[in-house]
Symmetry: C2
């Protein structure tokens, strides 16, 4: 079966043949390489044709004024936008003066393949120039997981049938077009001219460009050097020049048929808000020199070793559909490389695969991505949490501005300062603070890292607990309420007692109280006394969760079930996503759900609902949820599986698996949806694995949908690896080296010893008829989405 975007199906790679001009931006995202510090979109080496070319450095952004039609107190005055930094990707080829361009001449072969185990992007080209001669080109690109500042390309060209003169122009391009990331044309104009060139330098065969952002004042250096080799009789000639905005190494050689020129290009990056031009240059050139010393083969080997280590625990095996298997590994690869070498930087919603959402980080990182990282790459997770911790001073300032105690973390940001321009859907979404706290709690539970809890986690827990105490109110009956906030669902806002927010705040308060009790000395030093702890525990217990007694169903927020239902029958398929065709005024006042909100609470606060309550709430929410957000399908899959709707869960799983690969939201060219990719892991582990974690430990309730015959995944727990292999009738738990581990398998407590333990899967209770979705908004079937690849 032909896929919409023509990717092949393979277990450990994803590849495509030919060049499709209409899909080029999409492929740049899919083939993007990153290590969380440096990100290169997967564009063609020669730079043209291109979709949205991009090279990013984690944390590099430009500031811009925030335009408001009507200003308000506390509105952020400074916005932040990720920048396309000077690019070291470009390697242009001329064959007898004819520039290699896939649009000219004859392209007899064009393959791109992302190697998910090797961490490399491969390209194989066979091209006949309009002037006659044919060449073979092979390039391999990587963004090093070992050398954090380094990207590298091995580029080889071979003459096929004629003697040719080959010229290669390998460049750092300083004047890169900035992505269109802001709706205000005047803001965009400022972003387009954000980079001020500070100099181009050549030293031997190395060249460096140094720039600075005009407003945010961030200096950056991009440096390159090359290793050139050839099988030709006459050695290649190479020369390097640099101006302020362009560095170019020129390599010339004459090749007879069968002879080959190979170029290894090493690109180093450095940036800082304080370093001098010279220091920046030294850092970037130093990174290149280090990598040069190791050599290409060592870079590739280190890349593979890092990924082997990751996959050893993280790999998820699914049997029943080969394309799903590929999609899962594709997702995990991108989640990993988005955060592998963070080191106190944020992970944007698109990772470093594109400039969508202005390169901002949102709540979904902590809520969707961090659980995956904590379970599979805990060091990366720790770095991300330490980044949030490093923004605490901004969060405290923001809380003061908002009139709250404690800390209020930024809803969207790059450096920790709030950069959102529509407060009802950002500042009001205070749940982000509890989401961060939950990530801290999960991380401590999963790693057992008491030092992290004491030195980093506790302060975040305490400051967010203080926030909730100042945000909430007590009623006359002793209930605790949180008024006037916005939950995850963006089709409602400024509501009272959002169930997700309240339940996450409860967990936040409980977790802060427990952590403060575990570290009384540190807590006391933060001004936390027993009374505070008692108050947090009391508020957590008293937290109100809205329930519609007449309809016997939980409400997303107080009164939500009373509102008019959206008229789905009158809403044609061309009117989705709804926010592009209807005003918030209309969306907010009606029952229509953009994305899992109460359903997310059913997962994250699973202990607060009975199974029957989950069944009823899920069915109710399904009738209202249109999935206009990429964050929804995976969350729905988790609860669909829990309530026994395995077929529906499989359909949602398939949607999450194909969202970026099939560009279901028609915006993957702006970057991959990292949280949605992470959600695929969650749909499998928490959905069909039935994995839930709590203070009491980890519980599994694994059940495969009819479409799968086997599911295996691994998590790290206190340094050990637990692999879970779910079959049709039994689940095998395989515990790595270390002491025994107590888990729950359905309702049984099981003490796992090192090695394998097999447990039977109980029969599936009757789950009732399949819940219905709004007209036209049911997910594609698993088979239709994935194509049933054996």
């Amino acid at each position: 079966m032909t896929r919409p975007f023509g990717f092949d199906v393979a277990p450990w790679s994803i590849g495509t043949t030919g060049v499709d001009a209409s899909a080029i931006g999409h492929r740049e995202s899919v083939f993007a390489l990153s290590n969380g510090h440096v990100g290169w979109r997967g564009g063609l080496d020669e730079g043209h044709p291109s979709g949205i070319p991009g090279s990013y450095l984690g944390g590099v952004f430009e500031e811009h004024p925030m335009p408001y039609a009507e200003d308000g107190y506390g509105y952020p005055s400074v916005g932040q936008s990720v920048l396309n930094v000077p690019s070291g990707q470009v390697i242009r080829l001329l064959v007898d003066d004819e520039p290699f361009d896939v649009r000219n001449g004859t392209l007899t072969r064009h393959e791109q393949r992302l190697d998910l185990r090797g961490g490399t992007l491969h390209r194989e080209v066979a091209w006949t120039s309009p002037a006659g001669p044919s060449v073979r080109i092979a390039s391999t690109r990587l963004v090093s997981l070992e050398h954090r500042s380094v990207a590298a390309v091995r580029y080889a060209v071979e003459s096929v049938d004629a003697p040719i003169a080959v010229t290669i122009q390998s460049e750092i391009v300083g004047t890169v077009p900035q992505p269109t990331s802001h709706p205000d044309p005047r803001v965009q104009e400022a972003l387009d001219r954000a980079l001020e060139p500070l100099g181009g330098f050549v030293l031997g065969s190395a060249a460096t460009l140094v720039h600075r952002t005009r407003q945010s004042g961030l200096g950056m250096a991009v440096s390159m050097d090359h290793v050139v080799s050839s099988t030709a009789a006459a050695p290649p000639e190479a020369s390097t020049e640099a101006s302020d905005d362009l560095a170019r190494t020129l390599v010339r050689v004459r090749l007879e048929p069968g002879e080959r020129l190979e170029l290894v290009k090493l690109v180093g990056h450095a940036w800082s808000g304080s370093l001098s031009v010279e220091a920046l240059r030294d850092r970037a050139e130093g990174a290149v020199a280090d990598a040069l010393h190791d050599g290409w083969d060592a870079l590739v080997a280190a890349q593979r070793a890092r990924l082997d280590d990751f996959w050893a625990c993280a790999d998820v095996q699914v049997e029943g559909d080969a394309r799903l298997q590929q999609a899962v590994r594709f997702a995990l690869f991108h989640v990993f490389q988005a955060s592998a070498r963070l080191e106190l930087r944020s992970v944007p919603g698109k990772g470093l695969t594109g400039a969508g959402y202005e390169g901002h980080t949102f709540w979904d990182f902590e809520a969707f991505v961090l659980p995956v990282l904590t379970s599979t790459a805990p060091q990366a997770a720790e770095q991300a949490l330490r980044w949030r911790h490093a923004t605490l001073h901004h969060a405290r300032d923001r809380a003061r501005t908002l009139g709250f105690a404690g800390a209020a973390f930024a809803w969207r940001t790059i450096d920790g300062r709030e950069s959102s321009g529509y407060w009802p859907a950002s500042t009001a979404a205070l749940h982000i603070n509890a989401d961060i706290a939950a990530a801290v709690l999960h991380h401590v539970r999963a790693t057992g890292d008491e030092a992290f809890e004491r030195d980093v986690g506790l302060e975040m827990l305490v400051e967010t607990a203080r926030l909730w105490m100042s945000v909430g109110r007590w009623d006359a009956e002793g209930g605790f309420h949180i008024d006037g906030v916005t939950g995850p669902d963006e089709y409602s806002a400024i509501v009272d007692d959002n169930a997700f927010t309240n339940l996450m705040a409860r967990r936040n308060l409980e977790g802060a109280a427990a952590a403060a009790r575990r570290h009384p000395d540190v807590a006391r030093a933060m001004g936390v006394d027993d009374e505070h702890i008692a108050a947090w525990a009391l508020a957590a217990r008293a937290m109100h969760v809205p329930f519609d007694a007449a309809r016997r169903v939980h409400q997303s927020f107080a009164g939500s079930t009373e509102h008019a239902r959206w008229d789905f029958e009158a809403t044609g398929p061309d009117r989705y996503p709804l926010h592009d065709h209807f005003p918030y005024l209309d969306l907010y006042r009606k029952q229509v759900v953009k994305q899992a909100d109460l359903v997310l609470a059913l997962h994250f606060a699973h202990e607060s609902f009975t199974l029957d309550e989950k069944v009823r709430a899920f069915r109710y929410q399904e009738e209202l949820t249109v999935r206009d957000s990429s964050l929804s399908a995976a969350a729905q899959a988790v609860i669909a599986a829990e309530v026994g709707q395995l077929d529906l869960a499989a359909d949602y799983l398939a949607e999450a698996a194909t969202l970026d690969l099939d560009d279901l939201h028609d915006n993957t060219d702006e970057g991959l949806h990292i949280a949605s990719l992470a959600g695929l892991w969650t749909a499998l582990t928490a959905g069909f694995g039935g994995m839930r974690e709590s203070d009491a430990g980890v519980r599994f309730a694994p059940r495969l949908p009819p479409q799968l015959t086997r599911l295996a995944f691994g998590i790290r727990l206190h340094g050990r690896t637990l692999r879970v292999e779910v079959g049709l009738d039994a689940t095998i738990y395989e515990l790595g080296e270390g002491p025994p581990l107590t888990i729950r398998h359905f309702d049984d407590e099981v003490v796992l010893q090192q090695g394998r333990t097999t447990m039977p899967v109980p029969p599936l209770p009757d789950a009732g008829v399949r819940p219905t979705q709004p007209l036209g908004r049911a997910p594609r079937s698993f088979d239709a989405a994935l194509g049933r690849h054996a």
Copy 2:
């Protein structure tokens, strides 16, 4: 007692002496002249020193892009800002080459006086030039109520003690500075260069400048001509020149001591979106020629005649405080001149006295100003309603955009298109549509103008009724609800069942049903059938009004009484207005009221509450209401009076009376608060007069506060004049020519005959203790505010 702004106290005028540099912008607003079509701020003739100089033409604005940090569906893309048009105000004087400037030389006399009966602004100056000679200057300015496009100045200068050479430069200044009206500096920049000069022309002694706005494409011409006379031996020499941006008439004469030069300057205005330069020029010059033909004395006499006619009915007499008497007439004068010669234009929130609020018209015009006009100047009221009617096509478009049926009128606009940039406090405030409908209903009831109802009113009632039917929802018990809207109070937003909105919508639906029944043929032609009418009536009856059964008090909106109370004790006086110091996020989620909302409903929907319910609701709301809006005090005065809190009502009355004169909100320099001025009339008539209107007719329940000994006011009813004179023990009703009129006096039905009818005032029942306001937010006492002028 010295007033903060040094105005004297007089029954029919308001004057000041001296020049106070810090108060100059304030005085420009207080002394502004307008007829609803042309507006001149009360700046000094010579143009300097100035505060915020301004000349406006009703309906002339520039368009600008609306900047959004995050865009949303249905957000207006085009904004509108009132412009400072080319100014014909300037008359500069040179005495022996020394320019007259109040800051130089010696000012032995400087008086400005606004004559509220004459409709003229007088100025008397005695000045000794730094070079020695002394002059007396007298100017009188008017914006003609008779010649709609004309403003005029009589300017006289007299030598006191020496022979002098006098030069007068009388100008039209084309390059006028635009007011700072937009928070986005880039928008402001576009506004600053909005006027494109199209030519300056001289014909005989007349001169004309023509300009066009660059974006909105409105052409405008300002023309002037002069009549010069002198008692000097040698006749004055006069010459006129014009360039693109300046027209100047130069008059030179030599005056011996006691000799006098007099200049009558006539300024004509024309504007249009379609006329040619020539046609615009012809219109402006024609207006000047007409006025010239009438002559100065006729202009002044016509001005007085128009005002005599207005005051005959509209005058409100209060005894007990002379400054209150002055303030009431000042208020009525400005309300009248803001709308006297509208002719299908809107009345901005500041009238034509300043550029505040970008010159936009809001709901408060229909809710606060129109009731006064309908009762005292019904022709002006009709013009304003016909303007709204003329914007119905925009309102229908807007309703479609919002997903509603019928029409949704603009929350803020100049030409009828929505220009608001923060939808939760604008688009969501759908009550404006019911406010407009209420103004229609009142106008028809008060005038008995059936033709207006049939031709204009019915369509507005029908279209707004259709809006409410599509906005509301039915509950399972047959109640009708309006979710997710914003009421008058700007410290809450996007709430369910705002009581004010629901009650006004009820009135809208009832009124539409009744009007459709009265004009069945016209209604049918609009597609209204009996079923629609029945549905409107049913929804009106079923309208939900939220009530807190536990606290036995009405809620502003569903659940409002549950929210946390604002911490008034922790809010120092320097933190008001709250919206300048706290985010909406915090304000919206707590019980704190910026301005009368439920309390306004107690007045406007007076039949929907028992007296006891009013007492309880008022007391509850008083504890929360901070009056950060100029619209609040008068509304609170009305209900305070109704619930028997006469002393508190008097304090609120005094606040409304001094808001602009004493610049209580520190922004009167941007223009007068026309709706607040109108509220003063309402506070007296509906407050101490106890006047309420309904389908059943007019009711009075007059009761004077201890501070007043007499209150007399008049209203027009079906073309007749009813004057009401409230004394300490009795009320005298005096009905003008016409058939008998049935009113209610307290609980008695009284059939008034032409002439006087005296009714006793029943004793005041015990009203309980005085309600309390938030800490520090109690109104100043009547005596402290007004200074107890006998």
